[in-house]
Each structure stands twice: as structure tokens, then as C-alpha cells.
Amino acid sequence: MAMTATSRLASRCLGLTLLAALLLALLMGAFADPARAAVEVRDFDSPVTAERYRSLTGALRCPKCQNQAIGDSNSPVAKDMRERVAALLREGRSDREIQDFMVARFGDYVLYNPRLEDRTLLLWGLPAALTLLGGVLVALIVRRRRRASARELSADERARLNALLNRPPDTSGDH
């Protein structure tokens, strides 16, 4: 009885912890939009283009700096890249084309958000696969414990329990 309660409590705690971790991860994803400070003032013909400029320069990583978007960095190469992004936007290129243009020169390093390709399958798939594996393991363990503790006592065990509780053997019955 006590065993069942403990294991039930444990599995509930675990479930809550997992849920909390999941929520936290989702929240962090939602707010992880990098802070962007445009260094130069640029005029675009439409607010949509201006917004695309902001989001592109926020998601392209400065090759010279350890961890800064080109929109945040004062390094000369970041400035050149911002200028090129603005020029390509004015030429009417798509976001994808502009990213391809930068990757062709500076490598995948400049993408803060790596693309889903054959080469990056492990990168994208491993966290999901590990989470799944962990979930399956926890579920298996919880189920096995529950089953083990819910097992009926054998006659021998019941006699021993009664002896320990100093009860007469006949009063034993279902809990």
C-alpha cells in the first residue's frame, strides 16, 4: 500500500517536472528573439522591407565575433554584411536568396538557425530522439514499479506481515 502511494507520488512528481521543463522550453523559444540594435539608420520603401531587414540582420551571425548578430556588431565585416543585406533587399531578393548569398561566402556559421538538411539531421533530430527515449524509459520504469507494488501478497508474506504486526493470522484479509 505504502509502496504504491510512493511510486504514484514519484511518477506524478516526474510528470509535473517534465511538464514544467516543456513549458519553460517553449517560453524560452518564444522570447529568445535576439535583441537587435540597428547601427545605421536605413530607409526602405516599405515597412515590410524594413522589418525583413531587421529580422535578417538579427538572424545572421557575425563571422568575426563569437556570438553576435550582424545587426548588433560594430565589426567592419558586420557593417559590410548589413550593407549587402540592404542592397540585396532593394534589388528585390528573397530572404532565402540573401541567406544563400551569405552562406556561400561565410559558411553555415552565419546562420543562427541551421537549416534542416541531410547534414543537420543529427543536430535537429537528436534532442527530439533523446526526449522520446527518455519519455519511453520513464514510462517503462513507472509502469514496472506500479505493477510490482500492486501485486497481491502471497500467503507466506501475509503470514509474515501479520506476525510483524502482532495480529492473529485469521484476521488477515483484503486491505
Binding site: 557575425c62 563571422p63 568575426k64 563569437q66 565589426s75 567592419p76 565585416v77 559590410d80 549587402r84 552562406v103 556561400a104 561566402r105 561565410f106 559558411g107 553555415d108 556559421y109
Partner: protein, 175 residues
């Protein structure tokens, strides 16, 4: 016994992860493979530092293995690197310079003071060629084979050891 082994799995995983991360500690995050490896040297049309009227293009790099060194008068490491470049020139390696984001006067003065190992210097005041090469800081050195394909990329300072241990073997490999 089997359970014991199962229990050791987390420990083994931890050791593997620790080893991986420990190795990462000693890696240089600023040295990455160029995105241009195994690609054609980017097209360009530039004058030379020596002759403002000259028009040089990528055909300059065809026919023999060439080291292209991106430098600038404003770059202190480039000055330290010059003895190694002179050494490479003395070993019959063909060197072509790219005077990157520099003025003609300063570039010429630099070569007069530190020596000129270059067959010719492309003059790239706006850094256009540098951008197409994915240069994010001078000095950077590219090895181009006889077909004009980039085969090796060295980021930053070339030490005297690099000359004998890395650059020369790479040059011989592609000759």
C-alpha cells in the same frame, strides 16, 4: 551482472560527453574552414596596387598553384607575417597579394618597408573581393590550384612553423 552494466551506461555517456566538450575547450573558434573550399576563386575585376590602369581578373590565377594573401597596411598581424611570406616566395611559391581596404599610398609604403613577396597585388579598397572570399579579418591566405579552385584556407597569422608544417605540404599536394 547485467543490471550492473546497465547502471554504468549513464556514467559512460557522461565520460563520452565530457571528453567531447574537453576537446572543444582547446579548439580555436576563430579558425573555420572556408565556405569556398573546392570552389572556384570568385570572379573579380580590379586594378593592381602598382598600376591603377591595370585590369586583372580571375584568369590571373590559372596555370599554376598560387597563394593568395589578403593583407592591409592597417593590419598589425600582416606585418609580423611578412617574413614568413618572403620565406615562401624564396621557396618558389607564387604569391599574389590582395591589398584589402587600404589606400594606394599606405599599401605601397607597407611593401617598401616590409618587403614584397608578391608577384602582383590586387587593389581592393572597398573590400569587394574580400567580401566574396568571405574574409572577416586580415590576414587570410587561400591556396588556389592551377585550375583556379580554392584548395586550402588559412585564417590569421602564419607562423614560421605553419610554413614548413602546413603551407608547404599543401602547396606540394596541389602542384
Amino acid at each position: 551482472m547485467k543490471r550492473r552494466l546497465l547502471l554504468a551506461i549513464p556514467l559512460l555517456l557522461f565520460i563520452a560527453l565530457a571528453a567531447l566538450l574537453y576537446r572543444g575547450l582547446s579548439l580555436d573558434p576563430s579558425s573555420r574552414d572556408s565556405a569556398l573550399l573546392a570552389r572556384d576563386f570568385p570572379a573579380f575585376s580590379l586594378s593592381s596596387l602598382e598600376d591603377p590602369e591595370a585590369r586583372l581578373d580571375a584568369s590571373l590565377l590559372k596555370g599554376q598553384v598560387t597563394l593568395v594573401n589578403v593583407w592591409g597596411e592597417w593590419c598589425p598581424t600582416c606585418k609580423q607575417e611578412m617574413p614568413q611570406l618572403l620565406d615562401l616566395a624564396a621557396r618558389d611559391v607564387r604569391l599574389i597579394g590582395v591589398d584589402y581596404k587600404d589606400s594606394r599610398e599606405k599599401g605601397r609604403a607597407f611593401l617598401e618597408e616590409f618587403g614584397n613577396p608578391f608577384e602582383v597585388n590586387l587593389f581592393d579598397p572597398e573590400g569587394e573581393l574580400g567580401f566574396d572570399l568571405g574574409v572577416y579579418g586580415a590576414p587570410e591566405t587561400f591556396l588556389v590550384d592551377a585550375d583556379g579552385v580554392i584548395r586550402y584556407h588559412h585564417t590569421g597569422y602564419i607562423t614560421p612553423e605553419d610554413v614548413t608544417e602546413t603551407i608547404m605540404p599543401e602547396v606540394r599536394k596541389w602542384q
